[in-house]
Symmetry: D2
Subunit: 281 residues, 4 copies
């Protein structure tokens, strides 16, 4: 599918400082960047670096106080993959690639060590990892209310279990923490989202089942095949859209994701569905 995506961020710098942004669409064999532009106004020389997780960061120094506008645009062609998980077994811990192991461990916002008993009480009896993730995603959808502004940057999965409210970030963190508590590797996934209302950056998660990083979104706000991936990581700490060092404030965010071809067949999961969608990397 082809998508036109863009984001405009407006910062106000009170002092000099450094910004590290993570808003570029990921460049992978299955996600091709056909066109792309990135501008900073007023002009600042920037460096593009690739994070240890493989995400595309932009880093630049702000030397003067004042307003800074950042503008990113891209035409992206990505493809998704649908895998039948009817026979997917629990991942053998003996054969997990070393790059996947970190996604089994607790992280800042996904304290899976504290959710062990809860996860096993709720989903421990389910006999396939794909069904477990489907079940926990549905449980989040049914129990957590999407409520703009109800949480903040310190809110973690441990809080959300009980507070039962949050935004996409919180839904994703809880999904990841529950997966890891069940010994299913899981990671955070940020992107541009087609049909998201109101338009914004979106966060979902991937669980490693049947040898695939399978995509899940407990918010049910968008079709599963409508994402343009920006970044993957353990949780929001790894994939912040902006890491700000210095007294600089992010004032406005304007984001968009439009279809760049004529047809789109939305994909959703339904109960008892045994096929999983993935964004291959």
């Amino acid at each position: 599918m082809k998508f036109n995506v863009f984001s405009e961020l407006e910062f106000e710098a009170a002092t000099a400082g450094t910004l590290i942004l993570n808003i570029h669409a990921l460049r992978t064999p299955s996600q091709t960047i056909l066109e792309e532009s990135f501008n900073i106004d007023p002009y600042i020389k920037f460096e593009e670096i690739v994070s240890v997780e493989g995400n595309r960061l932009v880093r630049f120094e702000v030397n003067d106080p004042g307003s800074i506008k950042v503008n990113y645009k891209a035409l992206v062609d990505n493809c998704i993959k649908v895998t039948d998980h009817s026979t997917s077994q629990e991942a053998s811990l003996m054969h997990l690639d070393r790059s996947i192991l970190p996604y089994l461990y607790p992280s800042r916002y996904c304290q899976s060590d504290k959710l062990y008993r809860l996860a096993h009480n709720l989903f421990g009896e389910i006999d396939s990892p794909f069904k477990q993730v489907m079940a926990l995603t549905e449980w989040i959808t049914n129990n957590v209310q999407y409520l703009s502004g109800s949480t903040n940057v310190e809110t973690s999965a441990f809080d959300t279990v009980t507070e039962q409210q949050g935004v996409c970030r919180d839904f994703a963190h809880l999904g990841i923490a529950l997966c890891r508590a069940l010994t299913i590797p899981a990671r955070y996934f940020t992107g541009y989202a087609y049909l998201l209302q109101p338009p914004d950056f979106h966060a979902c998660f991937e669980a490693y089942v049947g040898g695939e990083w399978t995509f899940f979104d407990a918010t049910r706000l968008i079709p599963l095949n409508g994402m343009v991936k920006i970044a993957g990581g353990r949780d929001a700490a790894d994939t912040a859209l902006a890491n700000i060092f210095g007294d600089i404030t992010l004032n406005t965010i304007n984001v968009g994701c439009d279809l760049a071809e004529s047809q789109f067949d939305p994909i959703y999961y339904f109960p008892d569905y045994m096929s999983g969608l993935s964004y291959p990397v």
Copy 2:
């Protein structure tokens, strides 16, 4: 019912200090103390005071380092009351006695303010407060595992929701917090417990429904009519068996509760039961 109860506490004082104990059986119109003795060895003059909640405290100063043995024994005759709650309505907040209001508010170990959404998601649709408390008690029984030593004196209801393990104290705190989140007054209840294995002090809770402080025990470790009440309060902070000031350690606890008559018909709640048991005060 008549019960012989006793408790023996052994403290080791490294320095001088003050102890406030709350191990005396409550004296109420429906719980008569037929015989009672309280000794401290070596002898220390003590004062008996009644707490603001009406509990019987014993206070004394330890002037010398060393071992202190406290021994309490009583023969208690108490009676319980069974009330049909088929038609019990939600308590009118307009008519709640002022003495009951504090049991609506969050306390140290029962952060009902943080469990509001969870309580309403799980039990908000249930149409009678008695059924709500029955349901939440059963939910705790089914989801929290009784595990000696799994929690400590800082563990609160907010933790137990997610950690799903604990001892009687934690079961009671969670029950109370869920009740209060549903605007049902609830309080902590400590006592000597008949048939508790291994013998120990026990903690349960009361919810104010249908004009009665109705008794609940999510641990299901004892028959509901087997308690000799020691104390009531907002949570364990109000009803600690020993408040210790100074470098004094409680080393051993030995507790017992035996039937002092020939027959005992145990009472348990069952699903769909609409009668509640209370210990009138």
Copy 3:
């Protein structure tokens, strides 16, 4: 001192519900209410009750959706007391009145059990309880930043120790928790505050030293003798200005406290001051 105080609260009721307000100035031997009026618009019959802590509550039912304006005004004559604490000793736990004991225990927002080591590391060596409270109040003033909107109704003393920001409520909770961790009884104090900018309800705390409930305010926003007391309790859970049951929102608060006589000599504590101010009850 004579003060004119007033408060206007505007609620919006989406459904029927019950309100319990705690905005009346306390009536005590040393705080005389010379004139007073309380109105609800549209008119609703209300009941005045006295809480178990002795605070003046107003309770009424809202039967119809819509806007409700509450208006309270009073002319109050209060007097404060100044006590020399040069020789005040640690309170003997043997002689504390039973009404004071609850203020030694941890409560919802003042988890003194968790701050024991911190309190003793910072203030344990100080040799008089008055100096300890002076020192901890100053420590809060120096380390916690007053920042409107930085905290919410779930923020507790345990959070504030580390987050080091908050509003008057958080300053008071931390002061109370530190006192209790040092075995100094402490309680929450709400009131109308003269010279507070911007005008608002204010929260401070009292510590029981030298046989007096001595007044402290770590925010240093007002002169210590400028309060008209509304309520005392363990923490904000006991003394909420409005307990709301039902889908009713408190939209606006308008508060004032003006001097009703010609002269006012502000009192502040200074380092090494050994006199404490109290609002006798």
Copy 4:
């Protein structure tokens, strides 16, 4: 320096499961493994993998219930480096290698985002990053009490700030969290420790100052140059000595680290010291 190190772990498997151990001494240009042996009794085929952080993991499957003994021994020759930090400046965020960026972000046990204000209040005014880390390490030493068994695997830096007790793991987590809050990259460091009493695995931390991963140990239990490095990572979640999947219990740990040459000149930091020790990798 040459050290003989060993560790013996005894597991009891109730069911089949998988173990991932991280007890091998790291192999780096400056830490040479002269001799090494690793045995599992009864014999189980194992795989050695290198984690994404570069640590040496051993992974094996336990197929049968029963006791498993693991034995690791090595003769290691490592060297440390001493760097003068008198003129070390704040790291330029523009020039930090991408491999260092993750050590700026909060992690499971090091919630630097929550300690921002505390870190800046305490150490923000200090004018060199080396002095900041020296100061915060000393602050931890002075304020946190080393107390075996006082914390557990869920305890995090946020807890330790207030609870002020813990073991080496907690001292390291707090050091890391404070560094990151000051925008100083910091990571967890586990190893075999010479002269540690009682012998055990040890945990410390490294802060990235003056272009070096400089070594710090707030416990002050060992000479700084007495470590044989096992692993580095964001916190204990990345570097667990044993990740256990299945119902397998680690029952006993026996660890040792002896000098394998005749002389050892212990190095400690002292106040106002401006030289830092590092274990080059």
